[in-house]
C-alpha cells in the first residue's frame, strides 16, 4: 500500500502523461486514416469516399446554432 502523497503523484504523473500520450497516438491514427482514405477516394463498396452532409465550411454566424445540443453530457 503506497502512501497518499506517492499515490497522488503517481496518478497525476501517469494520468496526465498517459492521457496526453494516448490522445497523441489516437490523433496520429486519425491522421493516418485520413491519409489512407482521403475524401473523394471512391474505393470499392457502398458509400466509399462519400462524405456526410456537413455544415458550411465557414459557419455563418454568431447567431447560427452550432450543433445539436446533446442531452445529458
Amino acid at each position: 500500500m503506497v502512501d497518499p502523497l506517492t499515490l497522488g503523484l503517481v496518478l497525476a504523473l501517469l494520468g496526465m502523461g498517459g492521457t496526453l500520450l494516448a490522445l497523441f497516438i489516437l490523433s496520429l491514427l486519425a491522421d493516418l486514416l485520413k491519409r489512407l482514405f482521403p475524401e473523394g477516394d471512391r474505393g470499392q463498396g457502398p458509400g466509399a469516399g462519400e462524405t456526410k452532409a456537413r455544415p458550411p465550411a465557414n459557419p455563418q454566424p454568431p447567431t447560427a446554432k452550432p450543433a445539436p445540443t446533446p442531452g445529458p453530457q
Binding site: T19, N58, P72
Partner: protein, 379 residues
C-alpha cells in the same frame, strides 16, 4: 374508538412529526435545483429529475430508498450496476459529430490538456485527507462529463454520488460564467485575435466509420478499465456514421437517452438524503469541483498557447478552453469570447473539434486513472 382515531391520525401526521431540519433543507435544495432547471434553463434535463428526486426522498417515512422502495430499485438496477451511464454514453456517441475533430486531429491534444484538472484536484483531495477512492471520485468532476463522473463515483465512492453528480452537472452549466474570465486573463490581445482558417470538409465516410472502431480498440488496450465508457460512446458514433442502423442510432440518441436520463436523474436525487448529504464533506466536494473546472480551463488554454507557439501563431489559444468536454457549451463560449475580440473570427468549428476531443479525453483520462488504480491494487 377514540384511541383508534388518534392512532389513525398519528399515521397521517407522521410525515410532519418526523420531519428533520436536514430533510427540510434538502427539500429546499431540491426546489432550488428545480428553479435552476426550469426558470434558468440550466441543464434542465438533469436538474429537474434530480431536484424532484431530492424532494421526495426527504419526505419522512416515504420508504422510497428503503430496500424494495421504488427509488432504491431503480438506483440498484441502473446506478450501482453502472448501466445508466453507459447507456447514456451510447446516446451521446450517436449525437456527436467527430467531423471537426477529424479535420484537424492534432486538436485532440487539447482534449487531453483539458483533463489535467482531474489529476490536480485528485492531488488536492488526497492532501486534504480524503481516502484514495473518494479522492478519485472527486477529481473526476474535472472530467466535466456527467456519465463519466457517475460511472466512476458509483463504482468507487457511492456515498459521494449525490454530491459529485450535482457538482458535475452544476458546474457544467456554469461553464459560460466560469471560463471567460480565465480565458481573458491567460491570453494576450494578439492571441485572442488570431484568425484560424475556415474548416474544409476533408473527411471521407470510411474515415468516419473507422475512427470509432480504431479508437475503441487502441484506447481500450491502453486503458482497459475504461473500455465500458469508451466502447459505448464509440458504438453510438459508429451507428451514427455507418448509416445502416439508423433506427438504432435514432433510438439511442432519443428514446433510450431520454428514458435513461429520467431514471438516472431521479436516482441521483434519491441519494441526496438530508442526514447524509448535509455535511462539511459535501461542501468540500463542491469547492474541489469548482477548482477542477478552473484548472481544466487553465491547462487547456495554456496548452493552446503552447500549440500557438509551436505552429507560429496559427492556433488561437482560446480554443484550448473547449478541451474540457462540457459539450457543446465550452465550444460556444470560445466562439463568443473570440468574436468579442475579432468579429470576423469564427472559431466555432475548431472549438467543436477540441470539444469532442475533450469528450474522448475525459473518457480516456478516467480509463487511465482506473487502470493505474487497478495496477496499484487499489480496486
Amino acid at each position: 374508538m377514540t384511541d383508534a382515531i388518534l392512532a389513525g391520525l398519528s399515521g397521517l401526521l407522521a410525515g410532519f412529526a418526523n420531519l428533520t431540519w436536514q430533510q427540510a433543507v434538502m427539500m429546499a435544495v431540491g426546489c432550488l435545483l428545480l428553479y435552476l432547471g426550469i426558470a434558468r434553463g440550466l441543464e434542465p434535463l438533469l436538474l429537474v429529475p434530480i431536484g424532484f428526486g431530492a424532494i421526495i426522498v426527504n419526505i419522512p417515512n416515504s420508504g422510497l430508498m428503503e430496500p424494495g422502495g421504488v427509488l432504491r430499485t431503480i438506483y440498484d438496477a441502473g446506478v450501482l450496476t453502472e448501466l445508466f451511464p453507459v447507456l447514456i454514453f451510447i446516446g451521446i456517441g450517436a449525437m456527436t459529430d467527430f467531423g471537426p475533430l477529424l479535420e484537424n486531429p492534432r486538436i485532440l491534444l487539447l482534449g487531453a490538456a483539458g483533463q489535467f484538472g482531474i489529476f490536480l484536484v485528485l492531488l488536492l483531495a488526497l492532501a486534504i485527507g480524503f481516502p484514495p477512492l473518494q479522492a478519485v471520485s472527486i477529481g473526476i468532476i474535472g472530467a466535466m462529463d456527467g456519465p463519466t463522473a457517475i460511472y466512476v463515483t458509483s463504482k468507487y465512492a457511492p456515498e459521494l454520488l449525490g454530491a459529485v453528480s450535482v457538482a458535475a452537472y452544476s458546474y457544467m452549466s456554469l461553464v459560460p460564467v466560469v471560463q471567460p474570465p480565465i480565458m481573458r486573463a491567460l491570453t494576450t490581445a494578439d492571441e485572442k485575435r488570431i484568425v484560424m482558417p475556415a474548416v474544409r470538409s476533408t473527411v471521407s465516410k470510411r474515415t468516419r466509420i473507422l475512427f470509432p472502431i480504431v479508437v475503441t480498440i487502441v484506447g481500450s488496450l491502453i486503458a482497459p478499465q475504461g473500455t465500458a465508457l469508451l466502447a459505448t460512446i464509440m458504438l453510438g458514433n459508429l451507428m451514427r456514421e455507418c448509416g445502416v442502423v439508423e433506427r438504432l442510432a435514432s433510438a439511442s440518441a432519443n428514446e433510450i437517452t431520454n428514458v435513461v436520463t429520467l431514471l438516472l436523474g431521479i436516482s441521483i436525487g434519491a441519494t441526496m438524503e438530508g442526514a447524509r448529504f448535509l455535511n462539511v464533506q459535501t461542501l468540500i466536494v463542491f469547492a474541489l469541483g469548482f477548482a477542477a473546472i478552473c484548472l481544466d480551463t487553465v491547462s487547456g488554454v495554456m496548452f493552446g498557447k503552447l500549440m500557438c507557439a509551436a505552429t507560429r501563431g496559427r492556433v488561437n489559444p482560446l480554443i484550448g478552453a473547449a478541451g474540457i468536454s462540457a459539450f457543446p457549451m465550452a465550444a460556444r463560449v470560445v466562439q463568443t469570447v473570440g468574436q468579442s475580440y475579432n468579429r470576423r473570427n469564427y472559431l466555432l468549428m475548431h472549438a467543436m473539434g477540441a470539444n469532442t476531443g475533450g469528450q474522448i479525453g475525459s473518457v480516456m483520462a478516467a480509463g487511465i486513472m482506473l487502470s493505474v488504480l487497478a495496477g496499484l491494487g487499489l480496486t
